[in-house]
């Protein structure tokens, strides 16, 4: 098992290598998750922040991966922060009165986080107590207690990282969100496919549905409680909607031709889907309350891979009506489609940033595919990933990162890249091939 870590700062290597080794063994759930972090280029404007190891004051043994390490990882992965290595911390304050701000100014950090973990009142959980300080002004920016149940310390750590991220960037955090993906594992009979839901960093995977036939195109409902997906269990593509908590599922679309690319609207009222019953793939809008459907696109080309704008008014979709796949846009209420992507020979599978400013796509050039961000206002494409078989981009709900599928040799893996392209992370989530990631909405 090799772990590749390239860091500009070699001191960081001393800290992060054992941290990554610890991650490899600190798994919960039936599937082992492993994180590999690769810096593309240093982000000169990343905010230096020091998260002093939180003191363990609770009963029982602390987890192998500490709350502090999870917070550091989250902030670092976002590409906007440069967490200080523990080995560089000359001081380990736990309470506010122990802080000597002069020391931290000398260490050139802008922000400081201190904290501790204690048993929750009444047992059955933990309280993570923490404070965030501006080192220069010595102002306390946050003082919070996050309470979690037993076994939910990782989730608590993600909530702390979210709060710090939101306080310092003004953008809500996405660290305590979830991802869905499909895994394909070879068996004696062929392949076993599973739709899996995990934390946004790949930990705590849970199987939602398993099948001997392909599964693809998971789509989260706006309240995060359901997943729509395409299944070939009956020999042809069909769309199912499944409630995650109960496992109950319902067949939404089947019949001759393609039943594919389901997409729940952010408003929660509709689902876009692709049907080829009319003779070629077209996009339809389904009213989830009544079940009635109306056809949105009317063109002999392949029209598929619908993605909603954040206000649910527009549908972005893939169409090869111009010869090769490009992204087009049409009002969800109907009308004329207009072309969106103007750069590149092949652009498909749009995911729309929640801030409405850009879409990410899979851009093909010859045989190579990369993830690009198309700025909707400036009408410019920026390629974020090296390829060569990168696809299925999915925006984080705060528009800060993009999860996508790529190949390593002949094996499918997931990667996450910060929206500015500065930090990229590979997630190796299970034994088999992993593909089709979908990032959940923020669930409050």
């Amino acid at each position: 098992m090799t772990i590749l870590v390239h860091r500009i700062n070699s001191a960081a290597l001393r800290v992060f290598l054992p941290v990554l080794m610890a991650f490899a063994f600190a798994f919960t759930g039936s599937v082992q998750a492993k994180l590999e972090i690769e810096i593309i280029k240093g982000n000169a404007s990343a905010l230096p922040i020091a998260v002093v190891p939180f003191q363990w004051k609770a009963s029982g043994y602390p987890p192998i991966t500490t709350v502090t390490e999870v917070i550091d990882q989250d902030l670092y992965r976002s590409g906007l922060f440069k967490p200080m290595d523990e080995s560089d911390m000359a001081d380990r304050p736990v309470e506010a009165e122990d802080i000597r701000f002069g020391t931290w100014r000398l260490l050139k950090t802008d922000y400081l986080v201190i904290g501790s973990i204690r048993d929750a009142v009444g047992g059955n959980g933990y309280e993570i107590v923490y404070q965030l300080f501006d080192v220069h002004t010595q102002e306390q920016l946050l003082s919070q207690i996050t309470t979690v149940g037993l076994g939910d310390l990782r989730f608590g750590a993600h909530r702390v990282a979210d709060a710090i991220y939101e306080k310092l960037t003004g953008v809500s955090g996405a660290f305590s969100t979830r991802i869905a993906y499909v895994s394909a594992t070879p068996t004696e009979q062929g392949y076993h496919y599973e739709l899996v839901v995990a934390d946004a960093d790949g930990f705590n995977p849970q199987s939602i549905v398993g099948s001997p036939e392909p599964l693809l195109s998971p789509s989260w409902s706006s309240n995060g409680e359901q997943l729509a997906y395409v299944s070939f269990e009956n020999g042809n593509s069909e769309i199912y909607v499944q409630t995650i908590a109960t496992g109950a599922r319902q067949l939404v679309s089947s019949g001759k031709g393609i039943n594919g690319a389901p997409a729940f609207s952010p408003s929660g009222r509709y689902m876009a889907l692709t049907l080829s019953k009319s003779g070629n793939p077209e996009i339809y809008i389904r009213d989830l309350a009544t079940g009635s459907q109306r056809q949105l696109t009317h063109h002999w080309a392949i029209d598929t891979e619908a993605a909603w704008s954040p206000d649910s008014s527009m549908i972005y979709f893939t169409s090869d009506r111009g010869g090769r796949p490009q992204i087009y846009r049409v009002a969800a209420s109907g009308g004329k489609a207009e072309r969106v992507t103007l750069d590149g020979d092949y652009n498909a599978r749009a995911t729309v940033a929640a801030n409405g400013r850009s879409i990410a796509v899979a851009q093909g050039k010859g045989s190579e595919y990369r993830i690009g961000i198309w700025d909707l206002e400036n009408q410019r494409m920026r390629i974020l990933t090296p390829g060569v078989l990168d696809e299925s981009p999915s925006f984080a709900p705060n528009s800060s990162m993009i999860l996508y599928a790529t190949k390593e040799g002949d094996r499918g893996v997931l990667s996450a890249v910060s929206a500015d392209g500065n930090v990229r992370q590979r997630l190796i989530l299970s034994e088999g091939d992993v593909r089709e990631p979908a990032w959940s909405p923020v669930i409050r």
Binding site: P214, L216, I258, G260, P281, T304, S367, Y369, K407
Partner: protein
Amino acid sequence: MKIALRLLLALLVTVALAACKTTEPVQDTPEDTTPDTVAPVDEVVTAPALDPRDYTSAQSVENFDNPESLLSKRVIYFDFDQSDVKAEYRGIITAHAAYAASHSSARITLESHADERGTREYNLGLGERRGNAISGLVSAGGASGSQLDVVTYGEERPVCRVSAEDCWWQNRRVEIVYTAR
């Protein structure tokens, strides 16, 4: 005892040879002629070589497994990102069309595929477009629409999983599957 052992050995060799046989893609064109042969009386009789233009002979059901017959060719391959049916496959399609036209009980499912490059849902569409292209030609050749069905699997059912053209071309295919003959 010795004879039984020899027979067993012969059986094992035959089985081993059969296991070694691999399916090959269509490379030859329908214009290749095979000379008619007459089997000598004291040797094992094999099926006679066929005139490739004999699509609708009463024996044609058996021709499904006869490598001399176009009916035994049931995979059509495509170029990258294309759904045009290449000229080299027209004879095969005509053979199946003629068979279906003369056997009203025949039912064909065109299982359609794409290689892994490009996005999955678009590739469902690309696969279907390939199947539709073949379906159109088989209909034009005399089959009835009710005999034909197109199912697309996009890139989801590859025959190989290596990320190289050696494998990709094998996945850009439509398989002619008879659900009834």
